[in-house]
């Protein structure tokens, strides 16, 4: 291992820093930004002192007069910040609890002082008290091809743990901690009309957006601390007997975060070329194996169905219970999971968090969508894949809970959260993250998206869905796709596979699910046998499939109760065992099927395989003349026994 450090350190020193290649042979991304940071953690004051040299390359054809940077940590400075105004509450008056970042010096090319050119801006809400975005007017505008290099000395005061960031006692999770470039989007990128910086303030419900960058970070901490980062460790040295210095290198990731705590135990494992490192409390070693299994399953599934995981390293952290607020967050090659001491193997919560957070390496890390503006693209798409992985590896019906008397699949939780939400129609799925009203951010970004993606898979099939994501990866890896770009990929792939089977494109699907507020609800209204020419009035298309020389006919009536119109399968089962499959485009408000002949219908099911998971009520999707009451009777029997035993046990 030591030998490897020396080799890597040597490579770094001879190859010229952030512009060079150390981890991968060729750059994965356009390298628009890069950071070299020398950071020192003072556990007593909870401050990180940093010296940073960073660059932004104008790879556009536009002349850019300024640069914009995020100062995320200022969200925790006071209750007047946009974060706290939206979040409610206050960081309090205790100076130890608040967080901030202060720029001590800011110089540009040739040492020119840029502080006089710097001002806080508030592009989202005009909140003058918010200081999470800073704009620096460049003395000389950046022409196409120019590189803007800045040197910033800063101090970051870490907050008492909030939003998976900050400290608890001697535990530190250091994220969003340095001044960070926004993304300059030229005209045409992500459907923009005019070029400009995309640099949003820190909101209560928002995550991040950044260019893929190269990071060379030197971290100084007290000797007893164990450090984990999203980079590769190149070098470690003893600073003064009391502190140590570690040099880390990360390439083509959108953020660099790190953690330091003396209580971590470090474990490593390998999946193909990827070295996986797990930092976990020493008291929770029984979780190590299941955590590695979870991350390796996720790697295998996404690698096979979406695209390769391109880094040779991956670190994940299972934070201690007292700092569990750091759990469940992603920084591409570093993420945090969340388990608990003795959490039973039948509850797959730790696995679910691990799979989900790892998945962000793809949906946000590699496919770097704008989490501020289109949160469904990271959280929703990632939830869809998390659910598929959980149910694939941990059981189709037990991906989340696998108790003898209760099995719950991961995808069920998503659907029922969406379907039962009273606010499911208040806003579309395509909103800026801070615009979701009535606490609908989570439900809309995670659950609704995952549910409509499952529905899309139900319509176009699993293979075509996987092909969509492989194509999405191929086109947009290490770029910034927009929602429209994703839709275009779907349209192209579906067209390629199915031709015009689903129409000229799939926009009809996205207009209703992603960009619409309607619900999907199909119902079998009734079916009955009748004499021909009797009172039944039939206004819709009558489909005659059976012999017509009989005086009898069977009529099936289907309703569309919701606004969403999706193609559905209909299965009609006759008493003699014959079954007829129908395909209904689902567009009209009702649909009647008429069958001439003596045969009598036993049951009718719309969407018999439950592929249209957006349907908010599966119960009314079927109708039968003899419903199976066995499960209800069984339930009733068990309930009676349970209550009898319970009353017998709790009384003397």
């Amino acid at each position: 291992m030591r030998k490897l450090f020396f080799i890597l350190a040597f490579l770094l020193s001879v190859s010229g820093g952030v512009n060079s290649q150390v981890i991968n042979k060729v750059p994965l991304s356009p390298r628009i930004t890069g950071y070299t940071i020398d950071a020192k953690l003072d556990p007593a004051t909870k401050c990180v002192t940093g010296k940073m040299e960073a660059f932004w390359v104008n790879q556009t054809t536009e002349t850019v007069p300024d640069i914009q940077l995020h100062l995320y940590m200022n969200a925790f400075r006071s209750n007047k910040s946009t974060f706290y105004k939206e979040f409610g509450g206050s960081p309090g008056k205790d100076s130890a609890a608040i967080g901030w970042v202060e720029i001590k010096s800011f110089t540009g090319k040739n040492g020119i002082d840029l502080l006089p050119y710097m001002k806080f801006i508030h592009p989202d809400d005009k909140n003058l008290s918010d200081s999470t975005v800073v704009k620096v007017t460049l003395p000389v505008a950046a022409k196409p091809g120019d590189t803007v290099t800045v040197k910033i000395n800063f101090v970051t005061k870490l907050p008492s743990q909030i939003r998976r960031n900050g400290y608890r006692d001697d535990f530190f999770f250091v994220a969003q901690w340095f001044p960070k470039f926004g993304v300059y989007e030229p005209a045409g990128m992500r459907q923009r009309n005019i070029g400009g910086w995309n640099c949003h303030q820190f909101h209560a419900h928002s995550e991040f957006y950044a260019d893929h960058s190269v990071y060379d970070v030197k971290i100084t901490v007290p000797k007893e601390y164990v450090i984990g980062t999203g980079g590769m460790l190149l070098n470690e040295s003893d600073a003064d007997g009391k502190t140590k210095v570690q040099t880390w290198r990360a390439e083509d990731i959108v953020d660099f975060a790190w953690t330091a705590w003396p209580g971590y135990a470090v474990f490593t494992d390998q999946w193909k070329q990827v070295k996986i490192t797990l930092l976990i409390p020493k008291t929770r070693l029984e979780q190590v194996e299941r955590q590695f299994t979870a991350v390796k399953n996720a790697l295998e599934y996404l690698d096979k169905n979406v695209g390769p995981y391109p880094w040779p390293h991956l670190t994940f952290v299972d934070p201690p219970a007292f700092a569990s607020g750091a759990g469940g967050m992603e920084y591409t090659t570093l993420f945090t999971s969340e388990s608990f001491y003795k959490v039973p193997g039948t509850i797959h919560l730790p696995e679910m968090v691990t799979v989900h957070e790892f998945g962000h390496a793809y949906f946000m890390g590699i496919l770097a969508s704008n989490e501020f503006e289109e949160p469904w693209m990271d959280e929703g798409i990632n939830s869809f894949w998390e659910e598929r992985i959980m149910d694939h590896y941990w059981g189709e019906n037990s991906g989340m809970i696998d108790l003898p008397f209760l099995k719950v699949s991961d995808k069920s939780l998503s659907r029922l959260t969406y379907a039962r939400s009273g606010s499911r129609q208040v806003i579309t799925n395509n909103e800026y993250s801070w615009n979701y009203p009535h606490n609908t951010y989570d439900m809309m970004s995670y659950e609704k998206t995952a549910t409509w993606l499952y529905t899309m898979m139900g319509i176009i099939g699993e293979d075509a869905t996987n092909e969509v994501f492989r194509e999405y990866y191929k086109r947009w890896a290490f770029k910034h796709p927009s929602g429209k770009d994703f839709v275009n990929v779907v349209n192209d792939v579906v067209k390629r596979i199915y031709g015009d089977k689903f129409g000229p494109d799939m926009n009809w699907f996205f207009d209703q699910t992603l960009y619409g507020t309607g619900v999907c609800d199909y119902k079998v209204e009734s079916f009955r046998s009748s004499l021909q020419g009797s009172k039944i009035k039939n206004d819709s298309t009558v489909k005659s499939l059976m012999v017509t020389d009989s005086s009898k006919m069977a009529i099936v009536r289907l309703d569309r109760l919701g606004d969403i119109m999706l193609p559905v399968d209909v299965l009609v089962h006759f008493k003699d065992g014959e079954e007829i499959h129908e395909s209904w485009d689902g567009k009209s408000r009702f649909k009647d099927y008429t069958y001439y002949g003596e045969k009598q219908i036993q049951w009718v099911k719309i969407d018999p395989d439950y592929k249209i998971r957006m349907d908010v009520d599966f119960i009314n999707n079927s109708l039968t003349i003899d419903p199976d009451r066995v499960p209800l009777r069984r339930f009733s029997d068990k309930l009676i026994s349970f209550m009898q035993f319970l009353t017998s046990i709790v009384t003397l």
């Binding site: 608890r168 006692d169 209580g263 409390p281 008291t283 929770r284 201690p320 219970a321 007292f322 569990s324 608990f340 001491y341 003795k342 019906n397 003898p404 008397f405 209760l406 099995k407 719950v408 069920s412 939780l413 659907r415 029922l416 379907a419 039962r420 049951w603 099911k605 009520d617 599966f618 119960i619 009314n620 999707n621 079927s622 109708l623 039968t624 419903p627 199976d628 009451r629 066995v630 499960p631 209800l632 009777r633 069984r634 339930f635 009733s636 029997d637 068990k638 309930l639 009676i640 026994s641 209550m643 009898q644 035993f645 319970l646 009353t647 017998s648 046990i649 709790v650 009384t651 003397l652």
Partner: protein, 297 residues
Amino acid sequence: MKIFKALGSGCHRSLKVWKGILIFWFISLSLVSLVAFPMKGIMKTGFGQSAITGKLLNGIDVEVLSDLGAVYKSLTHSFSAGLLLLLLLWLLINAFLTGGLFNSLKSNDEKFSAGEFFRASARYFLPFMVITLIISAILILLALILIVIPMGGVASPDNPNESVPWLILIISVSLYILISQVFVLVADYARAWQVKNEKPACFRALGFGFSRSFRRFLSSFPMMLIIWLVQTMFVLLVLKVIGNWKPASGFGVFGLFLLSQVLLYIRFLLKAWRYGSVTSLKELNDPLPSSEATVNI
């Protein structure tokens, strides 16, 4: 030796009063059905003629249940309200019926009489109710002191040592199980004394219960632990069998019902075994110094 003699005698006595236990079982079933059947009705209404119930054949399906929407809410409300009502009612009925049961258990050779069973139930209802309430209150308080308060103190996520809350929980629950058996013993001794002394005197009965439990601790307590162990293993077995069996036919469901009721009958039998064993142990220890036969409190 005395313990096994008492356990054997308790077993004999409990089998002898099988008709009384049948009354226990029947009332329990009737009472619980009053709560469970309306819930079944609600579910039936919720699912209507849907074919989706087939999805429930493999067990609880949270998606299907959640699709019941408002019906599901009324189902959960019915369950919580029904369970609470049931517990309160059973507290009263249990106090009533145990009077008859203890009375039938006090003799090794008397024949069971349903008339005498109900007469005794009525006669001892009030003292048994008071004994039940006082001992139940003590047990709740004990749970508060031994489990809730210590766990509240250490279960904070701020606790840096994650294993400590678990250790405390295991110790607390173990202690609670051990100590609670002493109070169950007190209640059983008190009730055995009460039926022997016929005239309702619940506080004197409790006094006897405490006195006998502690004076004969070395013989009484291990016996209670043996009974507790057997009963616990039985309940675990029942959970395993009833919990895992998912019959998919009407015949199978009827079989499940029969089996669960037989197991419940055995559960009542085991409870009567405890009552009989404590009564027998009391009798074995009864040729005591006169000062101990009746207790002044």
